[in-house]
């Protein structure tokens, strides 16, 4: 089920998240940082398709859980899964899955249509799903009320919208440069 071919692509996107982790994060009082790693979630979904994107994010989180300091700002270990931002972290694989799934259902025949689809898919998976999971986390772990958590998460929305746009641009470039790339991972090769 997990072919060597998938292995390379999954590892690549897990690595992409690790690289984005090197890019400085901005800390907010909420205890949840603004990071570029969510862009990795969106890209994985759009370029790999649901199954492999999910696997890529799970792989990344396994590495973090093992203690490797790959979360933005050099953090790792099991502790991060008990912090206020844990909901978001759990949301990443789900978000990647949904992004990939939405991408498979939308057209991607031309660079333009692929880019628009990518924007919509990232909005649904990378933004909506991740934020819902994040709010649930904030309520349950940081003991915020639902309203507080919802308002809290809104701070990230402008930035995340920007990431959706960047994701769409990248997808546009890939569609031009690698015309035979299968968005949403429909075919194997």
């Amino acid at each position: 089920m997990n072919s060597s071919r998938s292995l390379a692509l999954i590892s690549l996107f897990a690595a992409l998240l690790a690289v984005f982790g090197l890019i400085p994060k901005i800390d907010l009082p909420l205890g949840v940082p603004i990071t570029l790693q969510t862009l990795g979630v969106m890209l994985a979904g759009c370029l790999l398709g649901p199954k492999r994107a999910l696997q890529a994010l799970l792989l990344f989180l396994v590495a973090v859980a093992l203690g490797l300091p790959l979360l933005s700002g050099g953090r790792g270990g099991l502790g991060v899964f008990m912090a206020p931002s844990a909901g978001y972290l759990i949301g990443w694989p789900l978000g990647a899955l949904v992004t990939g799934w939405v991408m498979t259902t939308l057209p991607s025949a031309t660079p333009r249509s692929a880019a628009i689809s990518a924007f919509v898919a990232s909005l649904a998976g990378g933004l909506l799903v991740v934020h819902v999971a994040g709010v649930v986390g904030l309520v349950n772990i940081a003991n915020l009320s639902w309203t507080q958590a919802t308002f809290g998460t809104l701070v990230f929305v402008p930035g995340d919208l920007l990431k959706c746009a960047v994701c769409a641009i990248v997808v546009h470039t890939v569609a031009r440069g690698l015309p035979d790339w299968n968005f949403g991972g429909r075919a194997l090769k």
Partner: protein, 197 residues
């Protein structure tokens, strides 16, 4: 795939991969656990010293290190500007030690050694029905691709500098994506040919 591994043998080459990985993981966890700036500063100083002690071996990663330092400085400046000096130092020190130790690990550890360690470490999970060898290989490949990102970025930057006289900067983002995806496809081809399935 490009690699940063240095054949110039250093003392760290001789340290078992398990210990290096453990140290790296402990650092990640400790960095998460503490907010004590003095402690983090001690950690960062230790990382810098360890890194410098590798001598000539750090040559292949010189550009990468320069960009890490630049990134660290940028966060610091940003937080100073936002009047959050403490938070700034916290982030800077964490990023600095994590990346320097990560690079040191990459420079001095062979992938085969790393695979050995990961396989042993994960073997208990076999009882849960997980294919742990596969997972170990995947983790190792993830680290290889992280390295490859920098090698490809440096290559593109070299080519861009040579051809236009200017550093590539942000305009290399799209080419980098395409080159990485192409690499991944070729690596996938190779793995499929050499490992089957």
């Amino acid at each position: 795939m490009g690699s940063l591994y240095s054949e110039h043998r250093t003392w760290l080459h001789g340290v078992p991969a398990a210990i290096k990985l453990l140290l790296f993981a402990l650092l990640g966890t400790a960095q998460y656990a503490t907010h004590n700036i003095t402690l983090l500063a001690v950690g960062a100083t230790a990382s810098v010293l360890l890194f410098v002690s590798l001598g000539k071996a750090i040559w292949t990663a010189r550009k990468l290190v320069a960009s890490v330092i630049l990134a660290s400085l940028l966060i610091l400046l940003f937080h100073l500007f936002m009047q959050q000096a403490a938070l700034g130092w916290l982030s800077t020190l964490r990023l600095l030690s994590a990346s320097l130790l990560g690079i040191a690990l990459t420079l001095t550890t062979r992938t085969a050694e790393l695979l050995d360690v990961l396989e042993r470490l994960l073997s208990p999970l076999q009882r849960l029905g997980l294919k742990t060898e596969r997972l170990a290989l995947q983790l190792a490949m993830m680290l290889r691709f992280t390295e490859h990102f920098f090698v490809v970025w440096k290559r593109l930057d070299d080519a861009h500098r040579l051809r236009t006289g200017k550093a590539g900067g942000i305009s290399l983002l799209a080419p980098l994506t395409i080159h990485m995806l192409t690499s991944a496809r070729r690596v996938a081809d190779t793995l499929e040919m050499r490992m089957g399935e």
